[in-house]
Symmetry: C2
Subunit: 398 residues, 2 copies
């Protein structure tokens, strides 16, 4: 039986493909510190489960295709607090941010079209695009620049008549970069000049450190018909398993068209929306506490990395990730070695090799993403283990 070219060409998740090695390590009795996935250990606000437990309808029936009116209104209010004025019919609820991205790509690009993405990028951007025959054109960003954008001219060189949009996460996964107001305005200008959409994945909006100002594409009035904001409660409220995301745009024709996709899959789970409504009522003090917690973890990781010879990493300023250049031959081999052949008193660490976050072949081979989603003690220990590992790894390059 012959499968489709698009499915066989689709990249395997670089984050999940080394899981079997971790399982084998655990089967041998090793403790593995997971720095490879973005699953926070922060407690989900209890209001979610309380609302779910109070659900007392006898029939668990379909929700509306566009999403529950209460949840849409909650998200509208959330955006209003952040200076973005969406109307309720400019917001659709999706199965996680994932579905929001997939729907946005389908709605703005036909097979053979291209979407610009700063690399390294959230790997599923590539997966979704190739599943629906859209090509990712990478804008290469460098560890040496803290993964900030290259010049406008460099980006213009990648744009052609097939280019339909710029897709990016800000704050950045996997890099932890927070783009400056100037960078955002430069992209807005490019979108106008070249008639592009901007798909802005802003799920880490609250996770910005060092007092930096976060600029959303939703604040730039003159490009409001070309901005699509992708959002999710997964990281914001540590509710990854709820799979509640959303898509928002002032472009009403776009939203009307995406609604057809929403109708095609009928609806997003009823109960999860009931819970999510309450999460959007969470007070800002929650974010302050969570932000402080991540900030402490960020410092632990960043400062530890600075003490490791040959490691290059600019200070990350957002989300809860950092991509570090490591003094190894191949980060994937290094991670496999960490899991299969190395331990410190029965403990080891796992990271996500960064090669899969790049579209340009060969880039990122000596880089890895570290997610700082463990508590301070575990994180400190994990970084100590990483330091020893880099000293002992047989194929180190220094």
């Amino acid at each position: 039986m012959i499968l489709s070219k698009r499915i066989t060409a689709m990249q395997e998740s670089p984050i999940r493909k080394l899981v079997p090695f971790a399982q084998a390590a655990k089967a041998q009795g090793k403790k593995v510190y997971h720095l490879n996935i973005g699953q926070p250990d922060i407690e989900t606000p209890s209001s979610f489960m309380e609302a779910v437990k109070n659900f007392d309808e006898k029939v668990l029936s379909y929700a509306l295709s566009q999403g529950s009116p209460e949840l849409i209104d909650g998200i509208r209010q959330y955006y209003a607090k952040h200076g973005m004025n969406f109307e309720n019919d400019e917001i659709l609820i999706t199965n996680g941010g994932s579905e929001a991205i997939l729907f946005a790509i389908i709605a703005i690009a036909d097979p053979g079209d291209e979407i610009l993405v700063p690399e390294p990028f959230y790997t599923n951007y590539n997966g979704f695009s190739s599943a629906v025959n859209v090509n990712v054109s990478p804008i290469t960003c460098k560890a040496e620049d803290g993964f900030h954008l290259p010049s406008k001219k460099a980006i213009e060189e990648v744009i052609n008549t097939k280019t339909k949009a710029i897709l990016l996460s800000n704050p950045g996964n996997p890099t932890g970069v927070v783009y400056t107001k100037e960078e955002i305005q430069m992209l807005a200008q490019l979108a106008k000049e070249y008639n592009l959409f901007i798909i802005a994945d802003e799920v880490y909006r609250e996770f910005v450190y060092d007092g930096l100002e976060f600029t959303s594409f939703g604040e730039i009035k003159e490009i409001e018909d070309r901005v699509i904001i992708v959002d999710s409660i997964s990281k914001r409220y540590s509710a990854c398993g709820a799979r509640i995301g959303s898509i928002a745009s002032k472009n009403k024709e776009l939203m009307k068209q995406i609604l057809k996709l929403c109708q095609g899959r009928l609806c997003v789970p009823t109960l999860e929306q009931v819970g999510a409504v309450e999460l959007y009522k969470t007070s800002d003090t929650y974010f302050n506490a969570v932000n402080q917690e991540y900030d402490k973890r960020r410092k632990i990781v960043y400062e530890a990395l600075q003490t490791m010879p040959g490691v290059l990493c600019k200070k990350p300023t957002g989300a809860f990730y950092v991509v570090a250049k490591l003094p190894v031959d191949d980060a994937e081999k290094f991670v496999v070695w960490l899991l299969s052949e190395f331990d410190v008193n029965g403990e080891t660490v796992m990271m996500a090799p960064a090669e899969g976050f790049y579209a340009t072949p060969g880039l990122g081979k000596d880089e890895a993403r570290i997610a700082y989603i463990l508590n301070e003690d575990d994180l400190t220990k994990a970084m100590e283990i990483l330091k020893i590992a880099l000293e002992k790894y047989p194929n180190k390059t220094i």
Copy 2:
């Protein structure tokens, strides 16, 4: 801003597009009997919510991309009871049957490829296909034949080098047909001869009446590498709002490839899977009771339709739908008239015009789908109202 050709070409849901007329009718104080949607009024087994309420983890974290091992095992056991022997890695959990169909289409067809679908069909087959640039080639079935399949030769005429699969629901939505063992074997033979996949949407497996035997494609050993079974708890356990579906195939390479799509969207909601595990433990007496209830409703609808002059409809034998040929100029206009200009003591009915269930232009214009998902009293009243409406409709054809 220019949107993609594929999204603008995508058909709007024929089931949902008349909803504004129903809302207007209700705003005027009319009572509307909804025969237009497949939302059952049967209670969801309480075990679902009990399990959800007992969930007590502090962090609502990601589930595994392939689905919860407990749920997969529950589904494996369910299939085993039905004579199908899947292994656990031959089953993936999806966001409803909808996502299962979308993933199956992406995995077996590239842009420009074709999928054979008996028409009238579940309208979203067309929606999903066109969203990912796959064309539906209809196999036309007729009301006069009770929507059974045409001859093998007639089907062969639609097959060409672009044809990759046959996609069908059995028992049939919207027709209520249950294909005979001979029909299933004929399709299996075609699949072998022309090297096609079969995507078998069997979500109504339990809803078969008149003592008919249901034949699953999963029972035919010689084509097991080309059969993809799509399933869902939505109708089986009246849990439409849970959005839990699944995809099963003995073709391990196919499942490995579809897992990449599952990884791309990370996971299906954790809580819904916790509830669904319990549903799969529901005893068979539940199905017997539900089946009897639908059977009573089926008889009410079928017998009432037989008393309406000019209405053509063979007895439906499965699911909870029937497509009837009506003596009207245009079923969509008729439904709009029912909602906007007609009532019997302040009450009216709504059905789904069938034209949107066909891919062949012009077909189904005088047909409508009736879902028998109301209790006996309401259904009886609704059919009385329909009978009067057909007498009074100004553009009737008899």
